[in-house]
Amino acid sequence: MSSLFESPVFSIALTLGVYQLATRAYARWRHAFLNSVLLSIAALILFLLATGIEYETYFAGGRIISFFLGPAVVALAVPLYERLGDVRRNVRAIAAAILAGGATGVLSAAGIAALLGASRAVVLSLAPKSATTPIAMGIAEELGGIPALTAAIVIATGVLGAVIGPWFLRLAGVRSRLAFGLALGAAAHGIGTARAAEEGTLEEAMSGLALCLNGIATAVLAPLLLHAFDPLIAAS
């Protein structure tokens, strides 16, 4: 009997069902903390803890769902293409914002963690946290962090950015839709992009572009910046 609930099919059906319910709850109440990714992850963690099903068992099915992250990132070319005119008009603003945001992300995540006494492996796992999952995991591996921990932190970052990002951007005085989309994509990758898409096609396109460019910027900047600041991190 237990093997039935340990089959990949069960994990897939469960994940889709939970996500469906979470999406409906969000559609009904529209509260930022009812973010469907956040709700789904919390519900599934509680489910695994309650039933004692191992994460590895769950992920045998879960990986089939998360596999589609790859094609979904490719598909972000469509909203980007539909807003290519906005990209052309703002190339300099976009490039400068991503470079500034990417460098800020790597230095602040590693620097704050080191100041707060994190172990070296945790500091290096945190550094690429604003990049999208596969990029961040690759960077963590290259730096000597823990890729799976990075994946967990990347997703927590995405959820955080999607939940409080829109509120915080208004607080920070950001009014432009282009800047809003870029900031959500740069800080909170795909989960931020899913949130940005609720605002409109310009926000979605800019967030998808920022996810892509910030991923590349982080891959290039993280090893350089961390090497430059290595004595500080090593001292932690």
Binding site: V73, S108, I135
Partner: protein, 115 residues
């Protein structure tokens, strides 16, 4: 629908081929996204050849992060041991990236452009 799925996987494959060929630490999906945008811009691919499946995938982007997100469960002990550092760095750094990216973009955005 199947046709647009083919186009997306074709570009994912091309992206992975380029990533491997160049030996860069950027995943094939990100390069595939750039290549597909270029192909659409050059009219090598028509929008309607890719849009049905692309819309389905992008509308459900959040779903694909759920299973690895559940993986947080594996790190409860480490997260508890270094909670202040991990949570502090994650929250502050995320706010900083939002503010810096947003403000720089807004400052440099050309007036009369996209607003």
């Amino acid at each position: 629908m199947a046709g647009s799925l083919f186009v997306i996987f074709l570009f994912l494959f091309l992206g992975e081929a380029v990533a491997r060929g160049l030996g860069v630490p950027v995943p094939g999906s990100v390069i595939g996204m750039i290549l597909l945008t270029l192909a659409l811009g050059l009219k090598a691919v028509r929008l309607e050849q890719v849009k049905p499946c692309a819309d389905l995938l992008t509308k459900n982007l959040g779903l694909f992060f759920v299973p690895p997100g559940v993986g947080l469960i594996l790190y409860f002990d480490l997260l508890r041991a270094e909670f202040l550092a991990i949570a502090g760095a994650t929250v502050l750094s995320t706010l900083l990236v939002l503010a810096v990216t947003g403000r720089v973009a807004e400052f440099l955005e050309r007036r009369g452009g996209a607003s």
